[in-house]
Symmetry: C2
Subunit: 147 residues, 2 copies
DNA sequence: AAATATTAGTTGCTAACATCAACTAATTGT
DNA sequence: ACAATTAGTTGATGTTAGCAACTAATATTT
């Protein structure tokens, strides 16, 4: 009982710390340049990894976020010129999301920082540990989605 | 590289789903009564589990949050009469945080829901899985705290 | 073809959370 | 007694989330 709840809190704490360190590293490694928040980064990255073209609705589903939330995020990314909306010629309701050149550049920088940090923070953990971690995360997510 | 980043995003997604389900269950099981947010719940619970009396600063440290953030949370909990600040007689700067009777009642209700949900979502996972999960979370948190 | 239903995105509003700097009052240290 | 430190507060700013209502575009039904 108490154990389970603590895990969510610990999880939250862990993520908070990771983001804090991440932010600090970004500041240190880039005194200038475009700064984006974790959520913005998450969306930018998600868009960039999709092979086929995606629309806002797709991203909302994929990230499990409310469509307004996605819209706001896209607004903010578009404002920074990291992403562009391109209306579908056949269905004018749909906006395809495209990562700009600058977008890819920022993404690359951020990914490098993420990579370094994760390498560092994972030291001392086995691959099995990490795989189990992902398994648990995925398992709980899927269970939760069904409720 | 991409794998590590995805885990943070997946983690975030998982937590989002868990909170969604949690909220839904609360709504279903309590058509009335005091509603509190995950953060409020987290703080309320944290306060309740400490044997010795704690002050705001303690909670900020313990939860890894900014003191203003804690203050605001306490404000909101105090407003709902779930928590009370009690000034230390010897050091008037310090406020001890006490969970009220109502506070314990709400906490109990919420804990019950949490317990049920976690039981349900953990089905199919072994104790070893869960332990490893906690181990990884704790490991990363500690590593991050040192950076 | 026209009417209705559905879809994708937008808007306005509200709530919650986080952080920083500056500040105040209280206590401790010199 | 004064300076430094501490605990909490305030104001401002930024970010994210969610809901309902709305608009324009498309699909389906009549």
């Amino acid at each position: 009982m108490e154990k389970h709840n603590l895990s969510m809190q610990k999880l939250r704490r862990m993520m908070h710390e990771v983001y804090r360190v991440f932010k600090k590293s970004i500041e240190e490694q880039q005194h200038e340049g475009i700064k984006i928040s974790p959520e913005q980064f998450g969306l930018l990255h998600a868009i960039s990894t999709k092979d086929e073209e995606v629309i806002q609705k797709d991203m909302a589903e994929m990230m499990g976020k409310n469509k307004s939330a996605i819209l706001r995020l896209i607004d903010s990314l578009e404002e920074k010129e990291l992403v562009r909306r391109v209306a579908d010629v056949k269905d004018r309701r749909k906006n395809y999301l495209m990562v700009t050149k600058v977008g890819y550049k920022v993404l690359d920088q951020y990914m490098r920082v993420v990579h370094e940090l994760m390498e560092e923070m994972q030291q001392g953990l086995t691959q099995n540990d990490i795989d189990t971690f992902h398994k648990v995360v995925n398992h709980i997510k899927c269970k939760a989605e069904k409720l």
